[in-house]
């Protein structure tokens, strides 16, 4: 696979030219934060950022997705018959996402693309996506990707990895999809040995800058009922306001709700992100609720990520170490602290 070097201007020009074949998504600065948007004429991509506030999961798994449409008009020959809403699943390129967020997609994939069922919307959008990652020269203090099987320049789940070498990007193709995308870019040159070794140095320096580490290797061997019955959950949940911010920002939270909406006689079946933090999530029609207490919902979120998922897939924790939940939790609940509590129980 090829390694190419582009000047930063060349790279941005090239990305713009990709719009004829891809829906291109780039990070932009919006207020105090960055977010991914569709690249258009007026868009100013900004690849000089730490991470977006929201993860890019919505580019494959929108917050709200129209699944089916139907008519509730009894005179319509297709009355009450659901039909899949027509969508564009053409190629899309996500430029500049962080390696942790690519790792997040791989985690979510185990849920939406499994041997028994394939979620048609998630799978089609994911397969149509080319993920061009940007290594993290300056990881945040809340980044703990290297504790959960990733790293600031981790390649897994990416199609291309970019190294920021001050005035240039070194683009490393990692998959066929990645090579195809790079081949469509004008300019650039084959990376020299000097540039390759500079990229290695940047990578090594970044790995050393990850100061936040937590041991996730003990979780698999813990007894699930002992953890479930551990006394610390009530204390931990005391401050939680069940706002759901952690689930909303998380690149690996995948829970959803399905709702029907009807306007006059035209109906849609829609799925929306949902969260285990909300009591309605599990409320039975009878009024019974297996997770009626706040601490039960907090416990569910952490046990799902750090124990149930670990046991179910045998492939590490359901966390990419991006640190968003740590940064944005309004009451400072820290998943790394929860892991420590679980480790020492």
């Amino acid at each position: 696979m090829e390694n190419k070097v582009f000047s930063k201007d060349e790279w941005l020009e090239g990305i713009k030219a990709l719009q004829s074949e891809y829906k291109v998504f780039v990070p932009v600065k919006a207020g105090d934060f960055h977010k991914f948007v569709r690249l258009e004429e007026q868009t100013i991509p900004d690849l000089d950022y730490q991470n977006t506030r929201l993860s890019p999961k919505s580019l494959v798994y929108p917050e709200s997705e129209r699944m089916f449409e139907f008519s509730t008009d009894e005179n319509d020959p297709d009355y009450n018959i659901l039909k899949e809403a027509q969508k564009d699943f053409g190629p899309q390129a996500i430029i500049g996402l962080r390696p942790c967020d690519a790792h997040g997609f791989l985690i979510v994939k185990r849920n939406f693309d499994n041997p028994e069922y394939k979620d048609p919307w998630w799978v089609r959008r994911y397969e149509a996506s080319t993920l061009v990652g940007l290594g993290c020269n300056e990881p945040c203090g809340t980044c703990f990707c290297s504790s959960v099987g990733g790293g600031p320049f981790d390649e897994e789940g990416l199609d291309v990895l970019l190294f920021d070498l001050e005035d240039q990007y070194l683009a490393k193709a990692l998959t066929e999809k990645g090579s195809t995308l790079l081949a469509k870019l004008d300019g650039g040159s084959e990376a020299s040995d000097k540039e390759l070794s500079k990229a290695e140095e940047v990578k090594k320096a970044a790995q050393e800058k990850i100061s936040s580490k937590v041991d996730t290797s003990k979780l698999a061997d813990k007894d699930v009922l002992e953890l479930f019955n551990a006394p610390f959950w009530e204390d931990l949940a005391f401050a939680c306001i069940n706002c759901g911010t952690c689930t909303f920002l998380c690149p690996t939270c995948w829970c959803f709700d399905i709702q029907d909406e009807v306007y006059q006689k035209i109906g849609d079946r829609i799925r929306n992100w949902d969260a285990c933090m909300f009591p309605l999530f599990t409320l039975h029609g009878s009024g019974h609720n297996p997770r009626s207490e706040k601490f039960q919902r907090v416990r569910q979120r952490f046990m799902h990520k750090l124990k149930y998922y670990v046991d179910k897939y045998g492939n590490g924790v359901q966390c990419s170490g991006c640190g968003r939940c740590v940064q944005f939790c309004p009451v400072n609940i820290d998943i790394r602290h929860v892991i420590e509590l679980m480790n020492s129980h």
Partner: protein, 280 residues
Amino acid sequence: MDNPYLPYPVRIEEIITETEDKNLKTFKFVFLNPEDEEKFSYIPGQFAELSVPGKGEIPIGIASSPTEKGFVSFTVNKVGLVTTHLHNMKVGEIMGIRGPLGNWYPWEEMEGKNVVIIGGGFAFTTLRSSIVYMLHPDNRPKFEDIIVVYGARSPGMLLYKDELAAWEQRDDIQMHITVDATDDPDWKYNVGFVPTITEQKITSSENAIAIVCGPPIMIKFTQPVLEKLGFPPERIILSLEMRMKCGIGMCGRCNIGDQYVCKDGPVFSLAQLKKMPPEY
């Protein structure tokens, strides 16, 4: 790509009001496309999502048996938005069914064994499916004794009254119907709670497997009775209910520990449940 969220269109063929409070109705559905009936190939114990366009979907146990051809039926308790709307729908209306979903009772394990069926209230639906399935001439020889304890609050709250009466007349199934209380002088069956009647009527756990479906309180008090009879937890089979949406293990709300009730259940043995967090 197959879309596991897309319901098969069906027509309501018949609606039967089952109980005196009119809160339980059985809906018989016919598939609009005959080939969908083939695809909807199910085993007793499974459930499906009933889809009322504009209102939503609800997970309901399949009450018909795969030995009954040409239709599929569900008994629905009126509790929320979708079920209330469904109760107001009429014969001939079009809606959807998505499934079959979930696992089933352990039929292979039950072969050659005595089958003890214990049901309470409106949780008798997949048990009805199972009884009809076992009584089919092709299947009856596969099982030894079939013993049924079924209870409801009052005679008028029993489901499938005509079938219960017909089964009472047969000699290849032992029926123990009971009600919590009644002032009907003509009531000719048992009076008493399901755990009590189970204790009186079931005499042995030898070569037997028990399937228990009912409200949590019934399950709670039946469990020690079965354990006293010598049923090991592996041979006590339960079917659980949970709030569900997707029915295929993706939406995340019906888990108990790492198991999804919709995909890994709804049928679990007591032995399995004892290893899972008690959060249901």
